[in-house]
Structures are given as structure tokens and as C-alpha cells.
Symmetry: C2
Subunit: 199 residues, 2 copies
């Protein structure tokens, strides 16, 4: 959808690359930025640069953080013997909003999806296995979503961890099929956590 | 919706300021940018800065352009005697996609909306009146949307231009193409009836 204004089309293309933004929305977003003051434009681009520069993965759980170690791993009150394995940082945020989980996380940064070229070795499974060498871990809760990729990844992890003799559980079926964790309501999410079962 | 990561929350707030972006989408967009390479981040921020620096209003029609005068005003094939008055640059793009209008435009950059503090003097009506001092203009088509603000603005412009003796028209109102009568609302239907024409 060309506007006939090259700089506007380039900006709209940038917005259209973002998830969930169609071409018409992208053009609307690009046009709305043109109404910003120079200060607001500077604040927007600085926020992008800052986020990219300051945020990295926690060396323990692989969650995103702007600290050396993320606040959850650094919190002595969190139970280090229970690791909740999730797809991404958004899933961590969803669990943290519920406030019913006191363990720690491990962020996979993806789900196994051969169609999209996401194989087990592109996830943070090596890092998870390294964490499990420490004897403190008693339980791994595989909390991927109830999608095809989520369940395939959960099964893969269950098989991967079975020789280690650690209890591996998964969320109860309370999450509707096809539902993404981020959009689950708090009761559904905390019930799914409570009702977790052995593989 | 705090993520516990300050730089991420600041970026998500920036996205949430944009039109049509809710807080959850904003966080999703902010997170997606963290997966960009440094080059992609640089391309995104450069596109924002470039669009802001290069795009300004055409001194004739007030439409957005990156040239001195916009390509439509600069085109000798366009009929300068017919001016189509529209709300914003997106309306110009919509008309240009149809390719059935050969005149020129005048972009108001808003619609009268006392609730939002948009009064007639914040629109480009002064610039429109200046253009009409030139005797070449024979017709002004007021092409604002069929919303409360669009119609109030159209009525205001019609009254403003009536002393000038220039023909002022507005877009036809009626049943949209493909629209079934059964689903037309009462106002649309009664306008379609009022505006009936001979075959």
C-alpha cells in the first residue's frame, strides 16, 4: 500500500514487520508518528535503543532482565527446587501476575516447530539440563501452552528429563485448547497450576 | 501492566501511545523488538527519524509530502478548478487508490470536535480560503466522513464558503456497494431514499 511518500512507506513497512500489525494499521501508525513533536520522536527512538541495549537474558533462567541476574532468580524467597519451564518472557509475566507460583522459571524462547525451523537445539534446553545437574531441583513443571507446538515441546522435555529421576509435571487441562498462556484468565491459570500432574 | 523490567515498560508505554494499540499489544510489540538484530533496530529508528525529518505539509494543499510541492499539486494533468476537502492524508490515499478523481485536494488535518478541543481555527480553513481567492477554483467537494464530526465540519465549511459564490458539493450518502438493505441502518436507508435519482 504505497502512499507515494517514500519515507512514509519505509516507516510503514517497519511497523508492518511487527507481530499483529497489518499493512493498513502500519500506515496509520506511521502517520501518527508524524504528528509527534521532535521531543516525542526522540523519546520513542531512545526507548527502543535503551530497551535493546539494557535488556538481556538472565544467565540462570534465560528470562529477560535489565539486571545482572533477574529479580526472580535473585529473590531468596523463591523456591529454587521447583522450575517452571515456559515458552517466553510473556508467559513468566502471566504467571507473576497470578502470584500463586513461588518457584523459579526457565524460559525456552520458543516452542519446537519443525515447520518454522525451530528445533530442540534452538531452545534453551542445554541450559535447562545444566541447571538440573544441581541437586536442589526436585520438580520441573512444563508450562507450555495447550497448542500443538506447546504439547509437542512438553512431550519432548518430559522424555528428555525422564532419565534424570526428577519429578516432571505439566499444567492441568484447564487451559482451553488453542489458548495462549498470555490470554488465560487468572483463575484458569492458577487452577491449571494447582492441578498439575505427573507425565 | 508492569513487566518488572523498566526499559521494557518504558518502550511498551511508547507503543501504547500509538492509535489502536492496547497495553497487551504494546508489550508484545516491545518484546518483539528485543529479538531484532542491532542492524534491524538501527533501520527502525532511522525510518522514524527520516520520516519525521523529510515529511512536511505541501504548501498548497496541506497534504503530507517529502517534496517541495506534493506530486498531486505539481501534476499539470490534475484539474486545479476542483478541490476535494478531506480530513487527513489517509483520505487522500483512499481517493487516489480509486483513481476516479482528477482534481486536487485540501487536507484539513482534523474535524471540528469541541469535545476534543478541535475548533475550526485549528484546521487549515484559513489556507483553504486563501486558495479560493484565486479565480480558477470552480467547485469545492467537501468529502469528510459521514460521522457526527464529519458532518458538522462539512456544514461549517458549506456556510463558510457560501458568500464566495463557488459551487460547494458533498459526497453522496446511501447504501454502500454490496450492502444488503436488510442490514442498512435507519439513517443510511432514509438518506438513500432522500437522495434517490432517476435511472
Amino acid at each position: 500500500m504505497s502512499s507515494g511518500i517514500e519515507a512514509l512507506d519505509i516507516l510503514a513497512e517497519q511497523f508492518a514487520r511487527l507481530p499483529g500489525i497489518g499493512r493498513k494499521s502500519a500506515q496509520r501508525l506511521a502517520l501518527s508518528l508524524l504528528e509527534y513533536s521532535d521531543e516525542d520522536i526522540a523519546a520513542f527512538t531512545a526507548a527502543i535503543g535503551d530497551a535493546k541495549a539494557k535488556i538481556h537474558r538472565c544467565p540462570i533462567c534465560e528470562n529477560l532482565t535489565d539486571r545482572e541476574v533477574c529479580p526472580i532468580c535473585a529473590n531468596p524467597a523463591r523456591d529454587k527446587s521447583v522450575i517452571c519451564v515456559v515458552e517466553d518472557a510473556r508467559a513468566v509475566m502471566a504467571f507473576e501476575r497470578v502470584r500463586s507460583f513461588s518457584g523459579v522459571y526457565h524460559v525456552l524462547h520458543g516452542l519446537i516447530s519443525p515447520m518454522s525451523g525451530i528445533t530442540p537445539d534452538t531452545l534453551t534446553l542445554r541450559e535447562l539440563l545444566l541447571r538440573l545437574q544441581d541437586e536442589t531441583v526436585k520438580e520441573v513443571i512444563v508450562a507450555t501452552g495447550a497448542t500443538t507446538e506447546g504439547e509437542a515441546t512438553a512431550m519432548y522435555i518430559a522424555r528428555l528429563l525422564s532419565p534424570l529421576g526428577i519429578k516432571v509435571t505439566r499444567l492441568a487441562h484447564g487451559i482451553p485448547y488453542g489458548g495462549e498462556l498470555e490470554y488465560a484468565d487468572e483463575i484458569t491459570l492458577s487452577r491449571a497450576l494447582e492441578g498439575r500432574r505427573d507425565f
